[in-house]
């Protein structure tokens, strides 16, 4: 089953998925930064999901970040940036 991500238009820098919580300050800052960098990305607020989609999102995050902490950015289904790591995010997406 495909999760229902929100799409943000921008420059294509690969498949970028942001798993976030709607209530989390660092998640908000991460989303803002991606917006500012003008990259194309998809995001989902895991706390707003219920039942199976919520569990699925948690499992997807755990694949890259066993702590299941937020924000987690998954890039090309290969690697992840965990937490609001401003410098790393700028480096990877600039």
């Amino acid at each position: 089953m495909e999760l229902n991500f929100e799409h943000v238009k921008g420059v294509n820098k690969g498949d970028i998925k942001l798993y976030a919580l709607s209530t989390c300050g660092w998640c908000g800052k991460t989303k803002e930064l991606l917006n500012d960098l003008g990259v194309e990305f998809n995001y989902i607020y895991v706390d707003l999901l219920e039942g199976d989609p919520r569990q699925q999102a948690i499992e997807e995050v755990k694949k890259f970040n066993k702590n299941c902490s937020f924000p987690t950015i998954v890039i090309n289904n290969e690697k992840a940036i965990v937490g609001f790591k401003e410098n790393e995010i700028r480096e990877v997406f600039s």
């Binding site: 919580l21 209530t23 989390c24 908000g28 800052k29 066993k66 299941c68 937490g83 609001f84 790591k85």
Partner: protein, 167 residues
Amino acid sequence: MYENMPEEKINKKYEILKKDAQAGGYIINPDVDFTKKLVKGLLVNEDRYGYQACPCRISTGIKQEDLDIICPCDYRDSDLNDYGACYCALYVSQEIAEGKKKVESIPDRRPVEEERKMQKENKIESISSLKYPIWRCKVCGYLCARDNPPEICPICKAKKDRFERFL
């Protein structure tokens, strides 16, 4: 669905939190906009889960499983000590409050789910010859010797269920 939470409610909660923090020797993040978003998150969680779960961690919706992340979480003091801020950066150190150090996103020290379950199962009842058991508040470290923990921690106001038997 929580877009319409009244500003007034958030401001009121913010003021209470700020006052309580100061009374207990804690400081909330002076970045007011950032902090108010977290305060809103606490209110949202109170609304949907019935307890003020950490806004920066995923909740199960089951209070018993989330006791350690009810704000202030069990990890606040250690994170303040090691990083100068709690996981959300709602609470910060004096150094950060004064702008001498930048607040940053920090790793989550909460053990993963499997470890948490194991810790609970492995908790061995301590054998003690003391007249009373010693209870420890997991939020602030307050200790007391009595048959049962107090309803509310007299120091940090955490509820009874945040206490563990210490001795």
